[in-house]
């Protein structure tokens, strides 16, 4: 399973990486903002993306829109803060499959990933 982490904070990516490794996902790619991610999806062909909302250059919402416009179907989990929660609706319309509110526990993220993937498999 190829997973892509899109977040401008290295710390956050490391945390996510740790959790994902624990969950058995080791084929990971990182991107530090939406633009970076867009340039990498073509080569990496991720099967799951964790995308932060608030990023420089291109935010998560714009990224998801562009990503979907290109016809990509891979599931996207949006990582939001409590404050952005009310805007999740916008993200859904852009094509987000699930979301998780920061800060999250490893269990919670694992659950969301499982939930999202089982949905795609079905």
């Amino acid at each position: 399973m190829k997973v892509m982490l899109v977040d401008d904070s290295k710390t956050m990516r490391n945390i996510q990486k740790g959790i994902l490794t624990q969950l058995g996902y080791t084929d990971l790619e990182e991107a530090c903002d939406g633009l970076d991610a867009l340039s990498k999806v073509g080569a990496f062909q991720p099967e799951l993306l964790l995308v932060d909302w608030n990023m420089p250059n291109m935010d998560g919402l714009t990224f998801v829109k562009k990503f979907r416009e290109q016809g990509n179907k891979a599931p996207v989990i949006m990582v939001t803060t409590e404050a952005e929660k009310s805007r999740v609706v916008e993200a859904i319309k852009a094509g987000v499959n699930n979301y998780v509110v920061k800060p999250f526990t490893p269990d919670l993220l694992g659950e969301r990933i499982k939930e999202t993937l089982s949905r795609i498999a079905a």
């Binding site: 420089p56 803060t81 409590e82 404050a83 859904i92 319309k93 094509g95 987000v96 979301y99």
Partner: protein, 780 residues
């Protein structure tokens, strides 16, 4: 008895709101519906009252009911006199109920009013001879609309329960409105499709709406809906090339789809997903869009009726041949939907209203049953609980949370103790589960206290109407966002201030029709009442398009009252000058009217809002109107917070207002007119040195964190020494005298039993930005 009192109280409120709407109702159908609602409310009250032997209430309700009955049959017109009498009677019944709830015997209602009511009810007996003059509501409803309205009839809740994660359920509410919006847009697009000139535009609009909704449906795992909308979207893209003939076949199917979407949205309220056998419908739609062909056997069979089509395409099942009745007008729709989705409901009753020749009496009973079942699915299943019990429950949960925090802290320590690692692990597992369950328990308990602002807002049309009548003005009240939910305590505290503000707006703000005309405005003034969630706050804004506040007059008055000096006045910003209106005894009205002008009202407003830790802003443009904006924290007594350290102490910052946490390098921090700022991505972020703010001695260290908090659109960074961690905190209110000067909104108890103050983000932001702006102003 207690049940009767609470129920009647609610009914009366509903009645009040409905009556006001009735007066303004545009279409006869709407009026009819409202009339029925009012009638039912009164009838229930009367029934219960007579059962309890409350003759005073019974007589009165009966008189009002008679009048309403005439109104309902269309024998009496909706005039201001009639409405006055009805509204007064609703007031009187309310008064009686209040008396009863205080344990007194209800007084007899004023005889004159009963007489007036009787006069209205009987006065026009001569017109009663023509019972068929008025269209019978159900029979005449347009076919495409009929099913939509009647779709509520299935009260046995069809479909299967949704199986979604809690984070998705959380958003469900948003989505229901969203889907309904989209469905409305589909409806509009379909209208446009029928017209060649607008077809292209409508088709692309339709495609757009469908694409968004597809993602929404997918997110909520509604497979049936997703596939249906997918088909719609693909059809929409091909519509331009379709022939006129096939367009008709297509639009009726889109309408059918819209109907299904509406139904799904409805059952989402109950967190249930519907499913239908959609294959035929989808296949036919796709086929039609591809080459415009359709099985000649089904072509035109639906007669333009959505229900008939749904049966035709095998989405819902035909019942007892009812759908094949070719009369389009008779709208047998409601019965079928009910039966197809929820077997065992009344077929015969619902069909009867269609027959116009039916005797009036029979029709009345029919309508009653019909409308009652319409009301049912809307009314949720509720039980009444005393508020005090909820309060104590909340308190207990609060204590539990603190205890849970202690257990979690102990668990962290236990690992260092010399005990078997298995035991330690088991222990931390158990603690983890406890944590999980506690947070769910908390959310559920908090939810029980949330109530929609509609409870307040629904009373205001009446207030405004009365004001308008008394002052001979024309005022229109627009209400937006009454679904916004707030804590019960907030709701109660908001009631009075809002009435005062609305009164002020209508009495002082909106001008007389003549003045408005002279000023080139619409004769009818508009007051706009709006509520929304904004971060961790609720924002309520009241905007009128009246004459606005006059800085000169206010300033003059303020000087008279000794609130300021002419020199200081010069320096004050407009907003600060307008702020004077909240002073006690401050009134610029030359004469005290019945309604307002004694200068008490706005003082009450300020006091109440302050009690809620809220803020008020007044914005006004002379001649154009005034906006009064209230920001209130969502006083949820338990919330997640970030615990930070400043000096030797720790403080909590509500997580809801935290946007992110950054670590500014010393060289990134710049200074603008003496205030520290930093650049965060593309904005300049003002920084607040918490050490300085909290009177801690400054120390030399680089590793400080900036917690970026936001309220409304404003952001500041709070510089703190340490980040301790995230924690659930239970807010204990602090008396104002303890927080004087300090930016604290309350206190909480920590894991180790220490007290920790909660930082008031709103105040911090306000202070930092106001000192910022005022100084830049003087600098300029």
């Amino acid at each position: 008895m207690q049940d009767f009192l609470t129920e009647s109280g609610e009914l009366i409120e509903q009645l009040d709101a409905d009556l006001v709407r009735l007066e303004a109702a545009g279409s006869p159908e709407e009026a009819q519906e409202l009339c029925n609602g009012c009638f039912r409310a009164l009838h229930t009250i009367k029934g219960a009252a007579s059962f309890l032997g409350l003759t005073a209430v019974t007589t009165f309700a009966h008189a009002a009911e008679d009048t309403l009955n005439r109104l309902r049959k269309g024998e009496v017109d909706v005039t201001e006199e009639v409405m006055d009498a009805l509204l007064q009677s609703s007031d009187i019944v309310k008064g009686m109920i209040d008396q009863l709830s205080e344990g007194e015997e209800a007084h007899e209602g004023p005889k004159e009013l009963i007489d007036t009511l009787h006069a209205i009810a009987e006065g026009k007996t001569d017109t009663a001879g023509a019972p068929d003059s008025q269209p019978t509501g159900t029979g005449s409803t347009d076919d495409t609309q009929g099913p939509d309205q009647e779709a509520n009839t299935d009260d046995s809740k069809p479909g299967t329960p949704l199986n979604l994660g809690p984070q998705k359920i959380d958003l469900l509410e948003f989505m229901i409105t969203d889907i309904q919006d989209a469905s409305k847009q589909i409806g509009e697009a379909v209208e446009g499709l029928c017209n060649d000139a607008t077809r292209e535009e409508s088709a692309s609009h339709l495609a757009e709406v469908c694409e968004e909704m597809e993602k929404t449906a997918e997110f909520f795992e509604l497979d049936e809906l997703t596939s249906l909308i997918k088909v719609l979207a693909s059809v929409a893209l091909k519509l331009n090339d379709s022939s006129h003939e096939s367009i008709q076949e297509i639009t009726i199917r889109i309408k059918a789809a819209k109907f299904l979407i509406d139904q799904q949205a409805e059952s989402l309220n109950d967190q249930r997903a519907l499913s239908w056998p959609l294959e035929t419908l989808c296949a036919r739609l796709t086929q039609l869009a591809e080459d415009g062909s359709i099985d000649p056997q089904v072509k035109g069979q639906h007669q333009g009726d959505v229900q008939a089509l749904l049966v035709l395409d095998g989405v819902i099942q035909e019942q007892a041949g009812a759908a094949s009745q070719p009369q389009v007008e008779a709208s047998p729709a409601p019965a079928e939907t009910t039966d197809a989705l929820a077997p065992g409901s009344q077929v015969s009753e619902d069909k009867q209203p269609a027959k116009k020749e039916e005797a009036k009496a029979a029709e009345k009973t029919d309508k009653d049953t019909g409308s009652r079942s319409t009301a049912k699915p809307v009314a949720e299943q509720t039980i009444r609980v005393e508020v005090s019990r909820l309060e104590s429950l909340l308190n207990l949960v609060g204590q539990l949370v603190l205890n849970k925090n202690r257990v979690l802290a102990l668990t962290r320590n236990i690992k260092d103790l010399p005990i078997a690692p298995e035991t330690a692990e088991d222990f931390s597992d158990a603690a983890g589960d406890l944590d999980h369950l506690m947070s769910e328990l908390q959310v559920s308990v908090m939810r029980t206290r949330m109530q929609p602002l509609a409870k307040l807002f629904d009373r205001y049309p009446r207030v405004i109407r009365d004001m308008a009548r008394m002052t001979d003005k024309k005022i229109n009240l627009e209400i937006v966002g009454k679904d916004t939910e707030v804590d019960k305590s907030v709701l109660e505290q908001l009631a009075d201030p809002l009435v005062h503000i609305l009164r002020n707006s209508s009495d002082h703000g909106v001008e007389n029709p003549e003045d408005r005309k002279a000023a080139g405005k619409n004769e009818t003034g508009t007051i706009h009442l709006e509520a929304e969630h904004q971060g961790s706050h609720v924002r309520v804004a009241i905007t009128d398009d009246g004459k606005g506040l006059d800085r000169e007059v206010l300033g003059q008055k303020a000087i008279e009252k000794g609130l300021t000096t002419p020199e200081k006045l010069e320096q004050l910003a407009d907003e600060d000058v307008f702020g004077f209106i909240f002073g006690a005894g401050f009134s610029t009205a030359k004469q005290v009217s019945d309604l307002s002008g004694r200068g008490v009202g706005m003082d009450v407003v300020r006091t109440n809002i302050n009690k809620l830790n809220g803020t008020i802003n007044v914005m006004s443009k002379k001649g154009q109107g005034t906006t009064i904006e209230i920001l209130i924290p969502l006083t949820v007594a338990i919330m997640p917070a970030m615990v930070v350290g400043v000096g030797d102490h720790v403080y909590s910052i509500p997580l809801q207002s935290i946007v992110e946490i950054v670590r500014p390098e010393p060289e990134e921090v710049k200074s603008v007119s003496g205030h520290p700022v930093m650049r965060l991505r593309d904005i300049v972020l003002p920084l607040v040195d918490m050490r300085q703010r909290l009177d801690e001695p400054p120390i030399e260290d680089g590793g400080r964190f900036a917690v970026v908090v936001a309220v409304g659109g404003q952001r500041v960074g709070l510089c703190v020494d340490r980040l301790v961690g995230q924690q659930e905190i239970v807010i204990k209110p602090l008396d104002d005298s303890f927080t004087q000067g300090g930016p604290f909104s309350g206190a909480t108890i920590q894991e180790d039993g220490e007290v920790c103050l909660i930082l008031d983000v709103v105040q911090l932001i306000r202070n930092s930005t106001s000192s910022f702006s005022s100084e830049t102003k003087t600098a300029a």
